[in-house]
Amino acid sequence: MQSSRRGFVALAASSALASVVSTTARAADPKEHYGMVVFLKGSEFFNWAYAGFQDAAATVGATTELQGPADWDASAEARAVDQLVAKGVKGIAVTAGDADTLIASINAGLKAKVPVLCFDSDSPKSNRLLFVGTNNYNAGVAAGTAVAKLLGDKARIGISRIPGLDSINHRVAGFTDALKKLAPGAQIITEVNDEGDLQKAEPVNTAMLQAHPEINVIFCGHGNPATGALAATRNVGRDKEGPTKVYVVAWAIDVPILQGVEKGDYGMTVAQNPYMMGVQSFLELWSASHPTQFDSMTNPGFGHVPTADLDTGVKMLVKGDPAIKALMTPPKL
């Protein structure tokens, strides 16, 4: 009796789960289905990218889904790519949490004739069709140029970053090169590892400012540390306008950051264009999955896509920029 009751409960639970899922999927009723794989799933940045992906798919009546881990684990991304390939999607756009870890899965997808491209963070050693995203070196140059204009040779910079990520390495290289060219007297004093965690960013940046009081700019190499870096400037009493102010250069378009730029808390922010990354990623995937009468020379069996990287560019947003208002309403999943 008891076992049959348990069986009933199990059956009911399973049916409930299946019905919840089937309702959602019926609404989608796929014609052509495409996947996007990200790390830090749920972050505003990738929500923007996915919104662009979805909107572009809607223009041709295709459906989409977003997969990937809520953390930095690239192996979980690789598994997500494998799953989408097994599911038989028409194309996959993936941002590589680690360039090397994704190689096998991307190549396996292409071998199974599923077009795969990288956006935002590249996996250049893989056979991905192309890369759509910010040219990180150029974006770093834009940030370095803006800092050189703001403080010139007096700039003393601390960098908050995650070590090892290729995308951040390129940004820092561009930033450094621009400073060398435009403000040769400026100096990069030190770098700290914020581990990609905004809560860790505050103590490490506070410690950095205490150890190096000459620092007057914190350059955030990625999206997460800005709020922690700003809190650090408050902790050492150097957040107000004046000769001791530490300017925080953020690398994000999250609403709190944009509000902070408008209030003058942040010196500026490097605004990438994730929405355009999503739009362009979808359009390239769609093109790749629709071969024309002439086969692609570079990717036989697929439709025509460029092989060169597609740079979606950045804009340095400062207080009063009208683009800030447009970015204040981020999409939701």
């Binding site: 399973s14 049916s15 919840v20 089937s22 999927a25 097994a86 599911k87 870890t101 590892n193």
Partner: protein, 340 residues
């Protein structure tokens, strides 16, 4: 009617296993009927590979949990093994076999150290293994400077990407390890001691069980299995990275608990853990197949974990009550005998 506690325990466990199998199969076939593409060879392969490394860690975790302990360091041991074997081959130029042996010895030593610290200082295993988790995570990051290590030989890649009789090597390893460890746990005297320790450490000591020795060996085994998973993961992904396997310890613990082990120790089986691993893999795959936001996967896994823990708590309370009834019955019988 009086039921012996052992029989009662076995009955409830069987019902729990059957329930888990039924829910897993219903999910699998329900999603196949609704969405298709579930019971294809390609999807089943992906489904199995999705949880195989956590599954290997869960095998070791089963032993640890049966003794009443916990090992949350396995995920960082996993990443450490990935990085160490990669560095030994790619940067130190060692041959594959030597690199793997050194890596497994190193991970075994980490496990032995965990066990030693737990028995020497009588500190809760959660604290000791958390210390190891954080220390190793820092070491992993420091020795790689955040970079991944890649550039392995094809022979090494076979360990993660190759197939034996059409089955992926890590799945073959998981299956063989589960069978061997399941038989040992069910029939070997040494492994039967784990249940005594988990049921009551003091009583086990008084019965002559060398609790300290057993614990050190079990934590060594757990870390070594995590090391094996790490080596194969490096081969599967073709790269070693400090962030790989993040939160894998929680999935391994969840698989063991969902598989019917009492999280307070004293019960659990390898078969149950395998069922728990399969359940988690099927549910995750169902979410991807149906394109439902995978954030809900954690909700379902968490709820199943809570149900499993509550169920095992219910079982242990019922067993304790049945034992009391049995004792009372024996005492009544004795007093009746004296009276007559």
């Amino acid at each position: 009617m009086k039921v012996l506690p052992r029989q009662l325990f076995q009955n409830v466990i069987v019902v729990q296993y059957v329930g888990l199998v039924v829910v897993t199969l219903l999910t699998l076939f329900g999603f196949q009927a609704t969405f298709g593409n579930v019971l294809t060879g390609a999807n089943l392969e992906v489904l199995a590979m999705n949880m195989v490394f956590e599954g290997i860690m869960a095998l070791g975790m089963t032993f640890v949990i049966i003794t009443g302990g916990i090992d949350i360091s396995v995920a960082s041991v996993f990443a450490f093994a990935e990085i160490l074997v990669a560095k030994l081959m790619v940067q130190a130029g060692l041959d594959m076999v030597t690199a793997i042996v050194i890596t497994l010895v190193a991970t075994a030593a980490i496990g032995a150290l965990n066990g030693l610290l737990i028995v020497l200082f009588r500190v809760h295993p959660m604290i000791i293994t958390m210390g190891t988790l954080l220390t190793l995570r820092g070491i992993n990051l420091a020795i790689t400077d955040g970079h991944s290590v890649s550039g392995f030989s094809d022979v090494f890649l076979f360990l993660g990407q190759g197939k034996i009789l059409g089955v992926n090597v890590p799945i073959v390893f998981f299956g063989i390890a589960a069978i061997i460890l399941g038989i040992l746990l069910g029939h070997h005297r040494f492994f039967r001691q784990l249940y005594f320790i988990g049921g009551g450490e003091r009583a086990a000591r008084l019965s002559g069980v060398d609790v300290n020795r057993v614990k050190i060996i079990i934590y060594t085994l757990s870390a070594t299995l995590a090391g094996c998973a790490g080596v194969m993961a490096a081969a599967k992904y073709g790269a070693a990275h400090w962030a790989h396997g993040n939160l894998a310890e929680l999935k391994a613990i969840a698989a063991v608990a969902i598989g019917g082990a009492n999280i307070n120790g004293g019960s659990g089986t390898i078969g149950g853990t395998v069922l728990g691993v399969i359940f988690l893999a099927v549910v995750h795959n169902a979410f991807v197949t149906s394109a439902v936001n995978t954030f809900w996967y954690d909700v379902v896994s968490g709820m199943m974990l809570l149900i499993a823990v509550l169920l095992s708590r219910f079982i242990s309370l019922r067993n304790a009550r049945a034992l009391l009834v049995l004792k009372q019955g024996k005492m009544d019988q004795l007093s009746e005998t004296y009276k007559s």
